[in-house]
Subunit: 491 residues, 2 copies
């Protein structure tokens, strides 16, 4: 894409000023329109070293309302963040609806940057593939995010020239705030790497725009025009009904997985108590081993109402050091959470190194309650299977142990438990009209659970269905499953 760009164009100060004011007013008005339309925007600004694109960014900021605007740079990623899955910080920083994030360097850390000898990039955290980037961006655009991707282009000569200017302004040691150093940079090698990257990540949803910065004025006007154009398209698009990508066809036959489990499995109280103690002791020492080896865990619990999630979680956590885990309860999203991508709130709770994050209900709400209750459109929840698989694969790739449990009881058992809860004054709080309403939709939920298990039981993040008519049996099986996984990992 780079060779098509004419770097020789120049612009007089007079022409520039004439155009600039007009474009500035337009950008300002569009920013307000995007806010009113509640469209979140991400501006990605990559490019050659030494383009002085900071100046351009400042121009852009100077015409925007700084409220609802945040500037980030992946160059400022902390050591702590580098212990987490690659996109974690980017997920956490997503703009809310109607807000704008601008990245002076974003997620474009590419494997082959190593080859051009940039020592900064010599960390496995940076080993990011073109495909993963495309997936991430697609997942955002499909949820209504607008991504503007700008690439600052200059010639080798200009880079050398700017390099001197940069040295003069900043000297050495300006650290994060400095435009990337240019000394010893092999322009031609970078050119090839960038060319490859631009081609591989130039998508319909998030296309690249090359900004020629050989002449700053030309660059500013070009960038403003691109921003205006993309903002206008975003407003247009919002008005149309969008069809998302469906990865799994509706018509593929989903087997009735739930029916294959034997719910009569049980264990006596006496055996249960003996084994529970034994398992908890084992878990305690495994947690210590995992902590030492810096291996984190994410465990998700789903299941029927009154399936016994709470009881299982308590037996599991009471074996652990309280400083090493957190239980994240998941309810329907509040208004603040709703102003982000639906997966955003789960990325807030990635465990710290060596720790355990437990989710009491999970990101599978999208394909369970949101599907059954029509809170999500068919497009949205069908798309979610792949989005969730992608997310969990990223966690797995970072070495996090991911396991999901479905607590399976039958309809009669649920009825018994509901009745018992209503009668016990210590437990009535556990039962709400919602629970009875959900029960009426049992069959719809069976379909949803079967499809969920079918499509998202992956090697990276397996599902374990727990026969939970017997609470004792269920608790032990969860502990057994985790012990087995831990022992396999530690072996």
């Amino acid at each position: 894409m780079l060779e098509k760009i004419n770097l020789k164009r120049k612009m007089s100060k007079k022409d520039y000023e004439k155009e600039f004011d007009d474009l500035a007013a337009k950008v300002g008005a569009l920013q307000r329109a995007l806010r009113d339309a509640q469209i979140p925007v991400i501006i990605v600004f990559e490019g050659f070293r030494g383009t002085l694109r900071g100046e351009l960014i400042n121009k852009l900021l100077s015409v925007m309302d700084p409220r609802g605007f945040r500037v980030y740079s992946a160059s400022k990623t902390t050591e702590g963040q580098k212990t987490q899955p690659f996109f974690t910080a980017f997920w956490q920083q997503l703009p809310a609806k109607g807000a704008i994030s601008l990245y002076h360097r974003a997620w474009y850390f590419l494997k082959n940057e190593h080859d051009v000898g940039d020592p900064d990039e010599a960390s496995s955290w940076y080993e990011i593939e073109h495909e993963q980037i495309n997936t991430f961006e697609r997942e955002l655009t499909e949820e209504g995010y607008t991504i503007v991707k700008l690439f600052a282009h200059i010639s080798e000569k200009k880079q050398e020239k700017n390099s001197k200017k940069i040295d003069k302004i900043y000297g050495n040691g300006w650290g994060n705030l400095a435009p990337g150093g240019v000394e010893g940079i092999d322009y031609k090698a970078y050119y090839k790497v960038y060319e490859k990257m631009l081609e591989a990540t130039d998508t319909v949803e998030a296309p690249w725009h090359i900004v020629p910065l050989e002449d700053m004025r030309v660059g500013v006007i070009a960038a403003f025009n691109i921003v205006i154009d993309t903002f206008e398209r975003a407003l247009q698009k919002k008005k149309q009904k969008k069809a998302g990508t469906i990865y799994f066809k509706k018509d593929s036959a989903v087997p009735n997985i739930l029916s294959t489990f034997d719910l009569t499995k049980a264990i006596s109280k006496q055996d249960y108590l003996v084994k529970l103690k034994e398992y908890q002791k084992k878990l305690e020492s495994l947690q210590y081993e995992l902590y030492k080896k810096k291996i984190s865990t994410i465990i998700g619990f789903e299941g029927w109402d009154a399936g016994g999630k709470g009881g299982v979680i308590k037996r599991f956590t009471s074996a652990l050091d309280p400083l090493g885990y957190a239980v994240n309860p998941v309810g329907s999203p509040n208004d603040w959470e709703k102003s982000f991508h639906y997966l955003w709130r789960f990325w807030q709770h990635i465990p710290k190194v060596g720790e355990v994050a437990i989710f009491d209900r999970t990101w599978y709400g999208r394909v369970l309650v949101e599907r059954v209750e029509h809170f999500a459109t068919v497009d949205e929840w069908r798309r979610a299977y792949q989005e969730i698989n992608d997310m969990e694969a990223q966690w797995d790739k970072q070495g996090i142990i991911v396991n999901k449990f479905w607590l399976q009881i039958d309809k009669e058992e649920q009825y018994k438990r509901f009745e018992a809860r209503e009668k016990d004054p210590n437990k009535t709080w556990k039962i709400t009209p919602d629970d009875w309403r959900n029960r009426d939709k049992w069959d719809a939920y069976v379909d949803a659970v079967n499809e969920m298990l079918y499509r998202t039981d992956t090697k990276a993040a397996p599902w374990t269905v727990i026969e939970a008519n017997s609470k004792y049996y269920a608790r032990l099986k969860v502990l057994e499953t985790m012990i087995a996984r831990y022992e396999k990992v530690l072996k």
Copy 2:
């Protein structure tokens, strides 16, 4: 307080089990009641090393609903957090209304711990005074937080005994998750330090409770009883109308500070443009110096509607590297923000080392709009002057440069600007019915502003009133003021 405690009591397993179930049910029920009453709770658990209080915490967790419950430890404070004002992480971690935070070691890092030879504490970050702790806790309790403070007490003999047990379980290197190491710890020296700390921080709002952990069963029952008692009191207290502490009496004469400024001050456009360029250049290099020296800045802007805040902020920020600052717009708090202490949301935006945090409207909303519109009670806003002074003093103590600007225009000038905005199609969005309504309360605002300037213009965080009838003059004075402060600091 420690010597009064009888460490010799023991409890049989049978007695313990009889009492425990009853207390467990009570704790569970009270947790739900607190959630319904929307009372946020913080449980602080300090104590001697080697008390095995982790076991007790696990007992407590095992009877609570893990939803709405978070466990923290100040021992896990990261290096990044240690570059921020001491209480920053604690403010950020505050539980929302109806939730509980438990600290396995909280903010009780005391100066004289150095004296007992604990190398972990040898950092200036830990230099925290009893008084600051009391202030912090009082500010929380006055906003409705309940604080349960438990101190785990054991004898020297028991400490030695537990030490061996701990070594056996954890070996070395268990790191953060380990109960503090006990080797080489001078029990008697610690005893004195703790005694002093307990006395100095035992307050009416947040009293200490000593938990004898010589016998774990005795300790568990004692701790459960304390928790139950405190929870019950909290529910009682919520029902009563509470009178807060008033630090500044109402009747003290507040001078009309605003009337002393000469609003005819102005500057020609030509002079303005020349000086603006000069100042911005200076600011740019000062920002670089401050970044290198790791000196952060917090700037707050307040002023009349149409006072020109936006224009000032733009001229200021356009001199800065966009990666080194953030503009935080402050509107009325959303529902999520409302579920915390009113200062919570500002602690989320403490600048990173060497960076600049700009607030477009600030924490002074409490004593301005909330006072005038009666969103805060008289008690609440009168209390706020001191709370805000305390907060800013903490920032200053950490080396952050804090400056606050009030943009002062007169009523006629505001009218002119409102009219102009209504006529200009590019600016009508800037004016809302609220602006006209606020204008009707001009005199009430004058009183509020005068009292704010009078009570919160401190050496740590001075106010600069800007004569802003002339926009040019105002912008230059803000830049001048910051340049002067920066040059003084860097000298």
